[in-house]
Structures are given as C-alpha cells and as structure tokens.
Symmetry: C2
C-alpha cells in the first residue's frame, strides 16, 4: 500500500511537477494542507480605471487597500493624520518622540540597530500569511521572535511565597502532575470500557514519556525542569531542579499563563522584522510614495450624489482641504472613526459604539548592560509576574551586544490598563521598575531612559485593539461589514483576527473585494 | 511581608548595588539562580611559565584548553590533522569538500550568507553557558534557532494510515487526551484522600485550560491545533483542525517524539551562530593563530622521564616531526585516540574501548525555491518521519530568500546510522529524497546538489559523539578522568553533556584545572 501510494505520487510528480503531486497528496488527505490563504482578491488590471477611493488612515489596512486597489488602476489617496506610515505598526528608536494626548516623551537612548521598541504589534505567527506575504513582496527581512523561552521567569505574589521560578519548572512540573493524575485512571474502571490491557500499557508508557514520570507512574522531578547545577565536564554530573508544589501553582489562575505558548496565535514559529516591526509600515509607505498624504487629518465625511466628499486639515499649515471620491475606506480604528463629523446612518453609529478597545500599554527601558543575558541566561522570550507589569520581554536580537532595550511592561487587562493610562509616564516608569524587582533584583540600577506608551492616550489610535463580545459580534459586526453608502470600514477590528496585523490585512482585502464587485456591477 | 521583603531588597540594592541585591534574593530562595557556570578555572597569570603542553586536536575542547592555558603562560601547541579548526564544529559552504574515508563530495550549491549546512552540532541551548561565554568573548554573533516549530510536520507510516499532520495537531490533541484522562480521576476516590471539593474544582479548571477541554472536561478539538481555514477578514471566521485519533497516535513510540522540545537540551531558547556553527571554530582558530599547526597528524605518543614525546606527520609534505612536552591533552575523539601508537596503560586502553560512538549522519540539499516557506508556511524547525531520514530541518535564517539549504535527513539511531554509513553518498541522497516525499510531495524536483555526511566515515572523527552506557560511565569513565602519566583526555566524551559542544568546553576546563593543580603542586 505504501509503495503503491508512493509510486502513484512519483508518477503524478513526474507528469505534472511538484505542484501537481502536492495537490494530489492533499486531495488524498495525506498532507495537512496549510490553512488556505488565497492572497489578495485578484482584481483585473485596469478594472479600477476612473474610480477614485479615499482611504482614511495609513495603517496596515489602509495601505494594503491602497496598494491592491492601485494595482487594479483605482485612483487612491490615503489621508494619514500622523507624519509617518504604519499606524499602530510602530517602532521607536533613538531621537523619536511619543505623543500622548496630554504630553510627550523623548526617546533618549543610544542609537543602534538593536536599540528599538515596538509599542504596538511585536510578533507575527508563521500562519499569518497575509502580513507575511507583504513582508516577502516588500522585501522586509524577517527573523525568529522568541516568544516562549523556558528559561525566563514566572512569578506570582500569591503562590510559593512569591518565589520566582523558571518557566520550565512550572511547565514541566505541571505536565508531570497532569500525567500522574491521568495514570491513576489506568488501574481502575474509570477508563472507558473496551480498553484492553495492551492499550492500558501503551497509554501508561505514553503518559510516562509525556509527563517525565518514574516507573511507578509518579512524578519525581525531571531534567526538563532545568538544573540547579548544570551537568558539566569531568566529575560534574549536575543536579536537577527540585519539583515545585504544583497544587499550589495551579491554584492560581495566573499560573495558567504557563499554557500561553500553546495557543493559536502564540505557538512557534513566531517572527519579527529585522530592526523593528515598523519596518513593515515603512516599506508600505515607501511602496505607496505620494499616494499617502501625511499630517492630513480627516475632519468630515459627507455623502454626495455620486460618492463622498472628504474634508481634511493639513496639520502643518492648518489649511482645510476638500476631496471627492467614489468610495471612502475608513481604515482608522473605530475609536477615531466614530468621532468624525460624518454622514453615517444611525445603525452604523450604533454599531461603532458596540465595540470595545483595549487600553493596552507597554513600557521600555534602555539597559547599558544586558543583565538578563549575563546574570539570568535569558535570550529573548517573556517573564511573567502577577504584578501590574504582567510581562517583561527580552529582545530576540542583538544577543551579547553591550546594551539593549528591554520591554519592562506589557499590560492589556482593562483595569490595569486604564489605571496605567491615568498615570503620568514618569509614574508608569517608576511603578514598572518597582514591579520588576521581583524578577530582576537590582533592576532599578540597570535601566534608564524609559518610555511608557498607553494606547488609550495615543492620538489617532485611542486604544490598542478591538474586542467584540459575542453579542456585538453577532449584531454590530455584520452592520459594519456592509458599506454605508460610499463608506467602508476596514482594519483589524473588521476581522476574526482582532489585535493582529493579519486582521488588518485580511480585512482590507475583504473590503477591496467588496468594492471591486460593486464597481464591476456598475460597469456591466 | 511582601513589602518588608521588597524594602529589604531595595536597601541591599542601594547599599551594595544590583549584584548584592541579586545574591541576597538568591540566598532568600526568591530567585531561581541560574545553574552555576563558574567559567574556566581561574589560573593565576604566569602560573604556566616554563610548562609545555601539546594538545591533540583543534576541536572545541582542544582549543578551549589551548586558549585558557595560554592565558596562564603555558607554552601550548595544538596539532590538528585537518586543514581547519573546529573538528566536528563544521559548516559547509559553496566550494567546500567533504572527505570520507573512501571518497569525497564537492559542495556545488550557490554561495550566499544563508547557504550553509552544519553537518555536526547545529544548536546551542541557552543554558550552555560554557560555549555561549566563548561566543561572547570571541565576538561570534548569535541568533535564535527555531527548534520546535509547531507548524512543521509529523508523519508515521504506521499511524493514521501514514497521514502527515501538523506538529501542533499531535501536541494539542495529545494534551487534550491526557487532560481529559486526568479529569476522570476528579469524580472518584481515585484522587488522594484529603483533597477538598474546592481543590477538585481548581484542579478541574486547570485541566480545562491545560488541555483545552470543554465545559464537560472532554476534549473536542481546539484552535491550538491550528486551522483548516485560517480566520480572516470580513465574514471569514475560520475553521479549526479536527481532532486526530489520539489513541492511535500514542500507540506509536515514534509519536512520543512530540515531547522532544520539553527535554533538558531542546527547550527554547535555542541559539545558533549567524552564518553557521563553524563560526565558533573559526573564531577560536583565529584567536589561537599559530598556536595551532594544521595538517599535523599525530602518530605516536611516548612517555619520557619528564613528560611525553609526540611524533606527528605533516600531511602536506609527508615529513615526520618530533615534539616534546610536559603534558599531552588528547582532545580528539576516543575513536581516534585509541588507534594511536601510544604508551597508554592497559587500564586506559580498556576504558577507551568501553565507550560507543554514534554513527550519526546528515544530508543537506540546495533548493532553488524555499518551498517549505512558500507552500507549507514552515519557518525553521523540524519535521519528523518514521522513515529513515527521521528529521527534516528547515533553516532558521534567510527567511523569504530566493533559495536555501534544507537538511534532508538527520539520523542518529545505530541501525539506521550504520546502514547510512555503508551506502555511497549518491544512494544516501536518493533514499533521502524518496523518504522526504511523504512530507513534501514533489521534493525530488525541488532539491539538488545534495551532500551526505556519515560521521562514522569522517577521518579524524570516526563517529558523531560518545555514548556511555551505565556500566561504562561507572567503570571506564573515572579511569579516563585521571591523567595517564603525562596524558590527559578531554572532549565531549569526558563530560556529562556528551554530544554537545558544551561538553567539550566543560571537559577542557576540567582538564586544565587538573593540570594547573599538578603544576602548582610540583612548584611548591
């Protein structure tokens, strides 16, 4: 059977090439076909001639829309309130400024290719083929992002007396606990009827391997949890870490974060652009050239007989401008769009009010010494604490450089995020330093030149990302998926991948497909 | 309590700086002190003046020994049979040649910074601080190595009708199975006495999160297993992969490989030098300069009244040379050392015979198209198959480049490795291509210019790495840890980290410590 199948595939391969063999194999159910990413809608060249589109916002969604519509001959203009492309795709480097609604912070750290901070998106999962395809097309070099570093730390004030442990200790000991519990069923009728003795033995053997159990099917610790003394040369056989009190660990919901790297968007391989996530926005901006008008703040959206009239203000000169277009793609966050003086229907206004935006925030510091590598042997990844900073991120690039940028907080839960927004940046930084001491004693002396970004307070963002609750997804989301006359809505919020750049890409592609269909129908 | 502790640490930090706070925290048991790596023995400067050491082999162990002894004033000479430093630390690039005992292969692929192949070691775990410290000291840039890519494939001819699945499917579904099994104990007395209802509820909640179980504490599939259709923009809510038949999976021992990335040496963060593992050997070679004599094949080791006499042959000219030294560090593999014409004691000869070397081998191909990224969305990591090739490795660098090098086989089990060694390289390559078709249909048309390295057939290696069985570790290993007159033994085989460069580093450091003690004793 195996030979026959292989022979068949070889024959198909010889006759039709690799792609044919691939499709045959997929059709035979022998290959997990990667999740379908069809690419952008294949708009016929020239199909957009004579059609004008104004796009509000040069974030990822707006720029994807402009790029793809432009290829098909649409006349596009992107109006971007900021002086740079990318929107929440943003990398801070030496000399940059962070503007919040009530103040600004200068980025004062040393310059260097590895001296950057992504206040917004900072990781791309391998299966986000929409954004990855644009990285390929636009020549944005990628490198691995270490998301799950088992050598980083875990800390919960309420558990183990506030002791900090290695992630690999928590993960390994929890696996051992679960496997040991599972093995207990094997001796009993608890297991489904019809399971043979041989089956039970095989399951027991698997559980032993899964959980690093002993011959007695109990967990007694494992080298998977790391070493108190590393095995070495000569007589140094090493000593592994002692098991933790797992029942205590798992009593804390915070500890369940141990499972985070299993989730759909967090599992390896995770990627990042070399030099900062902002490289993507910058590459889109470069590709679009003067299709984007910067520092152009849209103030009004009006319906006209044949489309829309857009009023915008040049933030440099203060001059007001008017623009007409057949269609408008509102590719800014709803926090911004809903505040425009616009001719939206009451249904759309109501729908826009139904979505919540997360008041996420991040803090970054310059470190003159990569203490996390030198003292803690942490190369990339994330440490977790139950304190407000929630996470510390270590850079996945620039290993063994003299200095570096450490992400000193990544906050996304509503209550902590809202409190964070209310504090002045100096207080956010002071609090972040105090929190981090549980993970890195002496931290206060290691870090300087902190920057604290609260997305709720960033003009033209007004939040980090959209979250639809079930009711809003059912009722409001479909309303915004339909054009409101000439007005379309695009962005991560108009997707099932909210909070990710992939959502912005896929939403923009959906929207241009809608526009192209409408244009095609009009022309026939 | 928490505040008091924090205050104490702040006080210590203020008084003694970060390092003092760190040590205090560690002493309080509040921090998982990273596994102790003391660094190389701190030999007093000048302590080796007038002492001569010949080192056999410019592999990692030999070069660490030469570097550290040299710092302390020892007169060192490294005799290396090959024309390059590094030993098994080796990167093949365009234009290189692979010499086996009975033939040679030219590396014919296109040149490029990402067009390389490491036939030997190819990954460094974050906690191997010995080798990492030398990377830091010698200025070898590092980057993450993707070891565990959940988007790579798993395939077993005997399971699921030979269907290939995503690693994340196997891993997620197995977790679900184990958690569901564990949850069954909660309803019964099976659980230890003394567990309260509240405890049971907490454990149940944890198991639900651990295994992605439903409210009924049963596993019904999860987005953690990946998507058949990715969630996207607009109306595309996506569809997750259906659960596999886990009982079938775990019936295969091969499937337990799913747990590999949990193990001590395989868990993230894994690292690699930018441009190939050989960068480390090259950096050591550069640092040592003419301390290393290349193409110098040691033929005899003799005892003398005051040390040793070493005979070696210049492989370029064929000339025989004689050298004397107080001590000799045999830093070549025992496969090589035991074949020397040497004045070893019978105990040492017997001990050397007790260690096994693994007949591991690898295959690499040039690909003109990075089909694993384009078709399969695989960025780095490893696919597994029950067929002989065992693994396919995808490069962790050069993402989205036009071309690349794919590791088409990594074999280390004795029977397959020995069969691999016996085949001519052309046959190894043909077989590797046939095997890979189950993972990548059409593979044969994608790859070219293969290179196949069988370590058993590489001169001056004669095997991939040492494996001590329990008896040999107890009886033979201690014999070789003691100097045999002027002769010392160093290398990965003389460590508890066999098969890793870390073992070579730590063994060399152990050995120079022994020599320094002896020298100090003589001088007093």
């Amino acid at each position: 059977m195996t030979l026959t199948r292989r022979r068949l595939l070889n024959l198909v391969g010889k006759a039709g090439g690799a792609a044919a063999a691939y499709r045959t194999m997929a059709a035979m159910g022998l290959l997990p076909v990667p999740a379908a990413y069809a690419g952008p809608p294949n708009l016929p060249p020239g199909s957009g001639h004579g059609v004008s589109v104004v796009i509000v916002g040069a974030g990822i969604a707006g720029m994807v829309a402009a790029l793809e519509l432009g290829k098909a001959g649409y006349r596009c203009r992107v109006l971007e309130a900021r002086a740079r492309p990318g929107g929440r795709n943003w990398t801070l480097r030496s000399g940059d400024t962070v503007e919040e609604v009530d103040g600004s912070q200068a980025v004062a750290w040393e310059a260097g290719p590895h001296m950057y901070f992504n206040p917004g998106p900072a990781r791309i999962p391998y299966h986000h083929q929409g954004i990855l395809s644009y990285c390929r097309a636009l020549g944005v070099p990628l490198e691995p992002l270490v998301n799950d570093n088992r050598g980083a730390y875990f800390h919960d004030d309420k558990v183990l007396g506030g002791k900090t442990v290695l992630l690999r200790q928590g993960i390994t000991d929890a696996r051992g606990f679960v496997a040991e519990l599972a093995a207990k069923t094997l001796d009993r009728e608890a297991l489904d009827a019809g399971v043979s003795l041989a089956d039970k033995e095989r399951i027991a053997a698997f559980l032993k391997d899964f959980g690093a159990l002993g011959k007695d099917l109990k967990y007694h610790g494992s080298s998977r949890a790391g070493f108190a003394i590393e095995p070495g040369g000569g007589t140094e056989a090493g000593r592994r870490n002692e098991p933790l009190d797992v029942r205590q660990l798992i009593s804390s919901e915070f500890w369940w974060r141990l499972n985070f790297a299993e989730s759909a968007g967090m599992a390896a391989t995770m990627l990042q652009p070399v030099g900062g996530m902002g490289r993507i926005g910058e590459a889109f901006g470069k590709a679009l050239g003067d299709v984007v008008t910067y520092e152009a703040e849209v103030t009004q959206l009006r319906r006209t007989d044949h489309g829309a009239r857009i009023l915008w203000r040049d933030r440099k000169s203060g001059a007001e401008h008017e623009e007409t277009a057949d269609y408008v793609v509102c590719a800014a966050p709803l926090t911004v769009v809903k505040r425009l003086d616009a001719d939206f229907t009451p249904e759309v206004v109501k729908a826009m009010a139904a979505v919540d935006y997360v008041a996420a925030g991040k803090v970054a510091f310059e470190a003159g010494r990569r203490f996390w590598e030198l003292d803690d042997h942490i190369y990339g990844g994330i440490s977790w604490t139950s304190r407000d900073i929630t996470q510390i991120w270590y850079p996945s690039a620039g290993f063994h450089e003299r200095n570096g940028i450490i992400v000193g907080a990544y906050i996304w839960s509503d209550d902590i995020g809202e409190a964070f927004a209310k504090k002045p940046p100096s207080q956010r930084l002071a609090d972040a330093i105090a929190d981090a001491e549980v993970l890195h004693p002496g931290y206060a002396k290691e870090v300087k030149n902190g920057v604290a970004v609260s997305w709720a307070k960033i003009p033209f963002s007004g939040g980090a990302w959209a979250e639809w609750d079930e009711g809003a997804r059912d009722a409001a989301y479909p309303v915004l998926l339909q054009p409101d006359g000439p007005f379309y809505f695009a962005g991560e919020h108009m997707s099932y991948v909210t909070g990710w750049q992939e959502g912005a890409v896929r939403s923009a592609q959906y929207t241009i497909g809608q526009i192209a269909e409408r244009v095609a129908a009009r022309k026939i």
